[in-house]
Each structure stands twice: as structure tokens, then as C-alpha cells.
């Protein structure tokens, strides 16, 4: 280190003290409608825009095995005709009022999303109401959306990342819905009938499973009647989603899927940590240091920065409701897969055995606390955060508490959780490509 360099670092250290837990995010209100529907609201009157994000607990993991992809197909059809409006009339009305209305399904939940200009607020919520309560599932859109899903499944086979990811879940969960793709398979999608589609909402869209967040140019008093109009006709109770808790099964296995690609795409991982686990925040800090931290993580440094083995390498906590996971990925030339995987296993081992260094702890905490406000950049992004807070049972004051929870994590906590969580011998990997010299088992 030259003198000049040290001076700069010193100067920066003085000028830019570690980030304090930044000012908490926006103020969150709990709004409860006359019919008892709860929503979390952030008023934001900067622009004449309102965003609503909501979800029903329970998602594609509830699809019957021979109808895998059912929830996903429903999500593609709710905006293809409802009430008096056929597909064309429904889409035309959305376009003419510049309303964004869409649905999607994940393994654990079914999401709805609405964005509107204030001037079309009532129409937007009304469109959402009929989509949820009076979807038509007319024959033309059913066949069209089915063909789109089948084309999408075919295109997915051209994407080695998707192939690797699906194969990894199939390997880990051979006898559990998590082993089946959210979008289903060509066979299961072809098997879905109009009756399956029509029966879906009554079993899934219950107010007991509903979580709602709203952000933007709207007050609590304006929102309350809209909540009742939109969700008030849904059944009060459909019962909790029935999915079995499980754990990944592919202890340490390595599977290769041959593809004529110049680069192998690898998905690796094993059992993780639940969001409600007392050691969640130590694990979150640990993963940032290991492989979650953009351009600063250990995996990035060892695999990319020092050796140029890959453009992208990362790890992340994936706390599925019924099987928490830690999953990572790397893409590297076929001849360098074995070396990359060996390095990743070594970093897994080093973190499990030695934990983090003191500077790594300091950097992780200042990053994770200081960068938090960067996410609050649009009404939709804030609504998404409020929704996740509710889905994860974090409490309405979470935005205020969150940085203090990270500040409270110390190196011992991270060392302990790393030892508990990380097991290089259990890392299961799927490699899509033509890797050289890789032992598969």
C-alpha cells in the first residue's frame, strides 16, 4: 500500500463514517375495512399513482401432481375475460385506462398486482374485483394461453439456467410438490381442463389466506371501501394450504445434464434456514459475506476476481415455507467447472470452520443497513416490501426495527450459524453443459 492510497482510505474513513442504521422507511398504516379486510398502507402523494400488491398464501405447490402448472395457468387467464367483458374487451379497457393488472404464481403463494393512475382508481379496483370473482375462462383464451405456456416450456429448454434449476429441484424433492415446476410440464399442462380452471378460485382465493399492501396516492378512508368492493365477495374461509414440510434429499449428489453448450451452468445448494428462525439475521449476514454480496463476496473474489473463472457466481437464502434452502449458481467454461466447484466447496468449508473476519462483519453490516433505503424507489417496490413483510409475519414496525436487528448480529453469531448451516459435503449440484473431469455421483 502506498502512502497516497492510505491517505485516501483515511480521508474516506473520516468523511464517510460507517452508515448508521438509516432513517427508517416510510410510515406504514394498518387499514381495516368494514368487512374486516386488512391492508398495510403507505401514503405517497408525490405522483398520481397507486400500487396494490396482494397474495393468497398457498401457490403452485398445491397443484395436483397430474395438473402441475394449474395455478400458473389460472394466473395467465384471470385477465383474459371476466364478468361481462370477454378477453378483448377486458384487455382493451385495461389499456385504455393505462391500468397494469397481472397475476403470478410461486410455489408458496398466488400473487396479484395492480397499478393505476389516481384518475382511474375506482375502475382499476373494479377490474381487479371481477378478475378475482368472475373470471370467464372462455375457450379461446384458454387454448391461447395454454399454447403460450407450452411454447414457453419449449423455450425454457433452450435456457440452461432454467434447465439446471428445474433439475436441481427435481433431484432434491423427488416426492414433494417442490420437485415439480411451477409452470408444469407439457403433459400436465395439456391435461388441465376448463373445469380444473373454473374450480380453482373457490379453493384458493379465501380471505383467510389473503394479504394486501397498498402504496401511493390514496388515503386510508378512500382505501377501505375499495378493499370491501374488491375482496369482500371472496369466501371468508378456504382453510390453510395443506403442504407437507420436507427437506432436500440429494445429499451431495452431482448430476450432469449433457447440452452442447460452450459453458456449463451450475446450480448448487442444500438445506437452509427458515425465515422465522432465531438465527435468520446471522445467516443473512453470513450469506452476504459468502456469496450474496454483489462484487464483494468471497465467492465473487475467489471465482471471478482472482481467477476469471466466471462472470456470475452467487449464493442466496431461499426460505420456502415448507423447506428452507440455500442455493447458489455459477456459469463457467466446460473445462473449468471442476475447479470452480472445488473453490466453492472450499469457501463453504472455510466459512463453516472459521466464520467471518472482523472487517467482513463491519462491511456487511454497513452495507446491509446503509443500502436498505435504496429499495424504496417506487410505489410498486414499496408495496412489494410491505407484502413480503406480511407474508413473513414480520410485524408492521419491521422497517423501523430491521437495521437494529442487523446491527445486533456479531461475529460469534455468524460463526455459529455458518457451522450449523454450511456443509460442503452435502452440496448437491446440477451441471448443464459438457463439463470436463467432473466426478458425478
Amino acid at each position: 500500500m502506498t502512502t497516497i492510497m492510505r491517505r485516501l482510505f483515511l480521508a474516506l474513513a473520516v468523511a464517510f463514517l460507517p452508515a448508521l442504521p438509516a432513517a427508517a422507511g416510510p410510515a406504514v398504516e394498518r387499514v381495516i375495512s368494514a368487512k374486516g379486510i386488512e391492508a398495510w398502507l403507505v401514503q405517497d402523494h408525490i405522483n398520481p399513482i397507486i400500487s396494490m400488491e396482494f397474495a393468497f398464501r398457498g401457490g403452485s405447490a398445491l397443484d395436483p401432481a397430474d395438473r402441475a402448472g394449474l395455478a400458473n395457468m389460472v394466473s395467465g387467464l384471470l385477465d383474459e375475460g371476466a364478468g361481462e367483458l370477454d378477453s378483448y374487451a377486458f384487455q382493451k379497457r385495461l389499456e385504455d385506462l393505462s391500468i397494469d393488472l397481472s397475476f403470478s404464481s410461486g410455489q408458496d403463494s398466488f400473487h396479484g398486482s395492480l397499478k393505476t393512475l389516481t384518475e382511474h382508481r375506482d375502475s382499476a379496483f373494479s377490474m381487479m374485483r371481477i378478475a378475482l370473482t368472475q373470471p370467464r375462462f372462455d375457450d379461446e383464451p384458454v387454448q391461447r394461453i395454454r399454447s403460450q405456456i407450452l411454447s414457453g416450456l419449449a423455450a425454457d429448454l433452450q435456457n440452461p439456467s432454467v434447465v439446471a434449476n428445474r433439475a436441481w429441484f427435481a433431484l432434491q424433492f423427488p416426492n414433494h410438490p417442490y420437485g415439480r415446476p411451477v409452470k408444469g410440464t407439457p403433459e400436465s399442462v395439456k391435461a388441465i381442463t376448463a373445469a380444473d380452471l373454473r374450480a380453482f378460485p373457490a379453493g384458493a382465493f379465501g380471505r383467510d389466506r389473503l394479504v394486501v399492501s397498498v402504496v401511493g396516492d390514496i388515503t386510508a378512508e378512500q382505501l377501505k371501501p375499495l378493499l370491501d368492493q374488491t375482496f369482500g365477495d371472496l369466501p371468508e374461509k378456504v382453510g390453510p394450504p395443506a403442504v407437507a414440510f420436507t427437506a432436500p434429499k440429494a445429499n451431495g449428489r452431482v448430476q450432469v445434464i449433457e447440452r452442447n453448450n460452450p459453458q456449463s451452468v451450475v446450480v448448487f445448494g442444500h438445506e437452509g434456514i427458515a425465515r422465522e428462525d432465531a438465527e435468520w439475521f446471522p445467516a443473512y449476514v453470513m450469506n452476504y459475506i459468502l456469496g450474496g454480496g454483489g462484487f464483494s463476496s468471497r465467492l465473487f473474489t475467489e471465482v471471478r476476481e482472482k481467477r476469471g473463472l466466471a462472470y456470475s457466481v452467487h449464493s442466496g437464502l431461499s426460505p420456502f415455507d415448507y423447506a428452507p434452502l440455500i442455493i447458489g449458481g455459477v456459469a463457467t467454461a466446460n473445462g473449468r467447472v471442476a475447479e470452480s466447484l472445488a473453490l466453492i466447496r472450499e469457501e463453504w468449508r472455510r466459512m463453516a470452520e472459521q466464520g467471518p473476519t472482523a472487517p467482513e462483519m463491519d462491511d456487511a453490516k454497513t452495507y446491509l443497513t446503509g443500502s436498505f433505503p435504496l429499495q424504496f424507489d417506487s410505489v410498486g417496490a414499496i408495496a412489494g416490501i410491505l407484502l413480503a413483510m406480511q407474508m413473513d409475519h414480520l410485524g408492521i414496525d419491521y422497517l423501523e426495527k430491521r437495521n437494529a436487528l442487523i446491527e445486533a448480529v456479531d461475529a460469534d453469531d455468524v460463526r455459529d450459524v455458518a457451522k450449523r448451516l454450511l456443509h460442503p459435503d452435502r452440496l448437491a449440484a446440477v451441471v448443464v453443459g459438457q463439463p470436463d473431469g467432473l466426478a458425478t455421483h
Binding site: F16, E95, Q148, L150, G152, G380
Partner: protein, 452 residues
Amino acid sequence: MRLRPMRSACAVLALCLTTAAGSAQAAIFNAETFVLENGMEVVVIPNHRSPVVSHQVWYRVGSADEPPGKTGIAHLLEHLMFKGTDKVPAGAYSRLVARNGGRDNAFTAFDYTGYYVNVAKDRLELAMTLEADRMVNLRLAEKDVLTERDVVLEERRSRTDNNPSALLNEQVRAALYLNHPYHNPVIGWASEVGSLSRADAEAFYHRWYAPNNAILVVAGDITAAELKPLAEKHYGAIPARTLPERVRNAEPPQVAARRVELRDARVRQPSWSRSYHAPSYNRDPDGLAYALQVLSEVVGGGATSQIYRSLVVDKELASSAGAWYDPTAIDTSTFGVYVSPRPGVEIAEVERAMEAEVAAILEKGVAPEEIERAKRRLQASAVYARDSLYTGANVLGTGVTTGQSVADIEAWPERIAAVTAGQVAQAARKVLDEKASVTGVLLPDGDKEGRS
């Protein structure tokens, strides 16, 4: 549910502009501008929702400015800008930013190269210190250049070589531009990237990186009055340099329709597209760019568009179909139509159907009420564009580096509003000329029928 075509990563920023720029009334972003004494331009986009800023420096140089035989050098240099100065050693840049709660990255396109840090407002000066430092003080070590070159080759494999549809797009572009450097992929041809050197990177850096070739864009919780003294302090002291003229080979007249077919064993979902040379905002002698945006929205913008209704809904031939147009480019831009057949439908059949649609557009034009609907939708999109501070920074940065003024960008809604049915028809006739087009077809290997 609407399916969108796959787009290359480089097109993403441009997409932001085509779908999100504009406003219903008055200015969209209320951006303010000033120029430092050394010629560095500054654009400020106030957005006070959170105490954060996006600090971005955009250089007026991109892959279309590379010397012959050195494709990929603009992008490799972008990676190497993180490899150190005397004060900030290789790898330290991003660590310093992250340690201060910031996120950084960079991007390269045909016409520009940009570097950004998103960070709490009270750390803005850190971003400025670091960015000003590497504008003039880059010091590259041979070993770091070679390692990063390997990273870029892996990036190319991820983005392009592993992806048959990206490989086809690359071939289509090479066929569409016969002589202009838009012919070459931004990331470069692998054979040339593999032999780029430290000297190549340094030569490109010293040629183009200077304050008078840069635009500072800051969006977020700040005003021009607050930013000006900081910009003067950090960037104003860097001397201007004489810049080379930006000379690019001219594109000759296009006289022959071209067809590019990629047959690849990895293909499971065939697709078809036709790309036409089209004006950009910056090269628009007949004033048709805004009309082309309206045309693109009417014929191929969504679920009620003419092409989608005909090919996907009525004829039941396609699973997706539409049009695209991106007017942000210094030189000629591209207008395109695309279609993916439903399972069991031959490529030849969707091709015939699409050609019939294009012929109908030329013959009958588009309905005036559809034009008015499209104009209203485009104008409303401008209100949404104000929401995220990152959108504003991207739209302004892209626009200004491709030849628009801030006033042009702010006036987008009025210009869309002023488009007439006659201009839309004129734009269609001007652009939908098969002789100035390339047809791209993605097929499974060995499948002579093109059946999916």
C-alpha cells in the same frame, strides 16, 4: 397475459425509454441542467421520496466507436475501470461503495458507456470522489487485464454462445448493418475479445475518457443548486482534453432483402422476425420517429394490437407476436416485427401470415381510433416513468448520449400527441421496405420443414 419478445441485455435501457418516457402534461422529469467550465454536462433529476441518490457518469463513447479489429474493447474497458487507480487499488472501488451502503455497476452500449452508484444522499461525495479519480487516474496491471478478459469471455458465453436466440440476433444485426459499426456486437466477437490487450484498453481510455466527453446524471434527493458546488469541486478541476472526431463508417443504401437462418440442435421453440432500418430521434430527416413509436404501439404493442389479434387470437397460428421500435441511437435504428409459432405450426405459415399483416398495414393503414388509443397509452406511460428515480436517470442518460436535448426528452408527450394518422401511414411506407430488412429465423437443427 401478454408475452414480450426476448431482448438482449443491451436493449434494456432503450426499452425503458420507448415504453416509459414521456408525460401527460408539462415536463416529465423536471430535470435541470448545467455545464461545468471544462465542458462536462450535468443533468439533475429531483426525486425526494427517499434520502438516496443515483450518481451516474455517462461517456459519449460506445462499441460503435471501436477501432477495426478491436471489437469488445469499449466493454472490456468498462470492466477494467474497476481495476484500480493509484489511490484505489483493483477491486477496492466496489468494496468502498458497498461498505458505505451503496450499490454500483456499469453498462456498455453501441453509443454510450455508463457507471453508476446508488447510495444514501450523505455519501454522494464518496461516489463523486471515486468516479472523478478513475476518470483520469486508471492504472492497469497486465495480470488484471488478462483475468478480466477471461471474465468477459465467460460473460459472452452466458449471454450469447449458450443462447441460440441471442446468437441469431447477433447474426441478424451483422446482416442488417453492412458497413456501419452497429454491425458488431457490443460485447465483441469472441476471436477479437480473446486478443485484446492492456495497451488496447489504455489507448481507448485515453482517447475517449475526459470530462468534456462525459455527462453527470444525478437523480434523487437533490437539487441543481445543491449539486453544482459538489460537481465543480470533484469534476470541475479535471482539465478538458482535445477529443477525436467520432467517425463511423456510413451505411450504404440497402438494396437487397436478406435472410438469416440459424439451425441449432438446442432450439426447441422456433421463432421468426423481420428487422428494418428505421430512423432514430437523432437521424430522422423526415421527422418520423414519433410516428413510428405510435405505429409500433398500434400494430404490435400489446394484447389488443393488430398483429397480436390477427396472428395469435384470430388465426390461432402463433403463441406470441408483435412489433418493436427503439428510436434512441446516434445513427440508424431498427423497427421490427416478430412471431413465435404455436406448437405444430410451420414457420412458413407464420411468415406468410406476418407478411400479409405488413402488406395490410401498408395498403390500408391503421385505424385513426387505434392511433388515438395508442397515443393516450404512450402519454400515460410518462406519468409512471416519474415514479422510480432510476428510470429518470436511465431515460435522461440514454437520451442525451444519443443526441437528444433534455428539452426534447421532456417534450416527448407533446410530440407523441402531435402525431397524425398521415404521419403514421407515411412512416409505415418509409420503413416497411423489405429491401432494407433482414429476416431472422430460428429453427431446430436438421428440421427442413421448420415444424415446431
